[in-house]
Symmetry: C2
Subunit: 242 residues, 2 copies
């Protein structure tokens, strides 16, 4: 796979080679971020968005009292830091959870796409909307379900994302997030997170040892999580052909 062909723009629209290379041309050179380093801190100037090529990255916000909420978990192919475009300084802190690689896309280049490449621009909008649906589902989970259900839906979501990246992997996956991280995703305390994991393990729905997670019964787990399954409208008819 070529370096910069790893993105999710083709998930909704079949882009041709010209369109794809038009996008890849605006991606800067690969940069690396070591584990546990900050790619862009909240409050920083917003000059670029980023295309994640390798590794796990979280997007989080720290409140004045020190509480942290992880808003998004990014995997290779994701665009990072998009929503801060509309702000005078970055809202979210982008942190490399594992050693990561990414390209920067400078904002003038990014917006040139809208002028030069309308179907890629459309794909970008759809990509942002997809991200918004995910954020909405996380909000629903936190607002209206118990911690155990939140954990279930999170693990299902991550597993689904990983399955798209590596379709042949099974029900087990490596989860580089700590229990503190997971708690910050789910809006609970690390201590409580630990107990919720223990409880969910004891039901037999999942295994969780070290950093390896196994979903023993995806159907039952999905049922337990009580969140709607999202059926994405891949390649919808209303997008104008080239």
């Amino acid at each position: 796979m070529q370096p910069n062909t790893l993105h999710r723009l083709g998930e909704f629209i079949d882009l041709d080679e010209d369109e794809l290379s038009g996008f890849e041309n605006i991606c800067g050179a690969r940069a690396r971020a070591k584990r546990h380093t900050i790619i862009r801190a909240q409050g920083a100037d917003v000059e670029s968005v980023y295309l994640l090529a390798e590794g796990w990255v979280t997007s989080s916000v720290v409140l004045p009292d020190g509480e942290r909420q992880i808003v998004n978990i990014h995997l290779p192919g994701d665009l990072l830091g998009m929503s801060s475009i509309v702000l005078s300084s970055a809202a979210e802190t982008l942190t490399a959870v594992t050693a990561s690689e990414f390209s920067s896309i400078r904002l003038p280049d990014f917006f040139a796409i809208f002028r030069d490449n309308p179907r890629v621009a459309t794909a970008l909008l759809l990509s942002v909307l997809q991200d918004r649906v995910t954020l909405m589902d996380r909000l629903i989970a936190i607002g209206r379900t118990s911690s155990a259900r939140r954990l279930s839906s999170l693990l299902l979501h991550i597993h689904g994302r990983l399955s798209r990246l590596r379709p042949n992997d099974g029900a087990s996956f490596h989860l580089p997030l700590t229990q503190v991280d997971l708690a910050d995703v789910l809006g609970i305390t690390p201590i409580h997170m630990n107990r919720v994991i223990k409880d969910l393990k004891s039901t037999g729905l999942i295994d969780f040892s070290g950093n390896t997670v196994t979903l023993n019964d995806v159907v039952k787990l999905r049922d337990f999580s009580a969140l709607p399954v999202r059926d994405w409208a891949r390649h919808p008819s209303w997008v104008s052909a080239r």
Copy 2:
């Protein structure tokens, strides 16, 4: 003010008359929704997005067990139902809280904008990103702050939105949402909502009688709510000129 000039596309980019009328041309005729009626139910086919011209509309999701989470509160000028574009059926239920008026924009027309009117398309993306920041802040509030703080930040957000629509209004506003609605926004129980309102009133930070809300000290209330204030990047330099 002309019927369809009420939208928020100009908040980030100065659009000229041609561009504005290009957008207004794709908006269908005004439709009306009575109070407490559903504009589009979750699970319905996604054929349009909607431009709200008059009234308050909520966007909510109902879970299998009957729990409801209100994900968004829409005021005139908002685009409704955008995120369901990427789904095979609508994720959210759009409900008229007050008598409302709106235009429908059919998806083929909507996406034609990307081909015909790149700067309007850019404005649409920025509009979606702005909405995403708001959703993110709601997520942070629900995940990491107490009920009273959540209520504070919600009231501040609504007051800010209303102030943009009617700059001369003061610190009082009419809130057509019931306590049940507010509870569904904040992820708590209606009974608890009632107590939180009582508590927050007793601090003197707000008044809340009937459907009229008064913010007695916006600065103190903002400080109490503990959520960052978003400074929107109006008319940023990196958007390509026409």
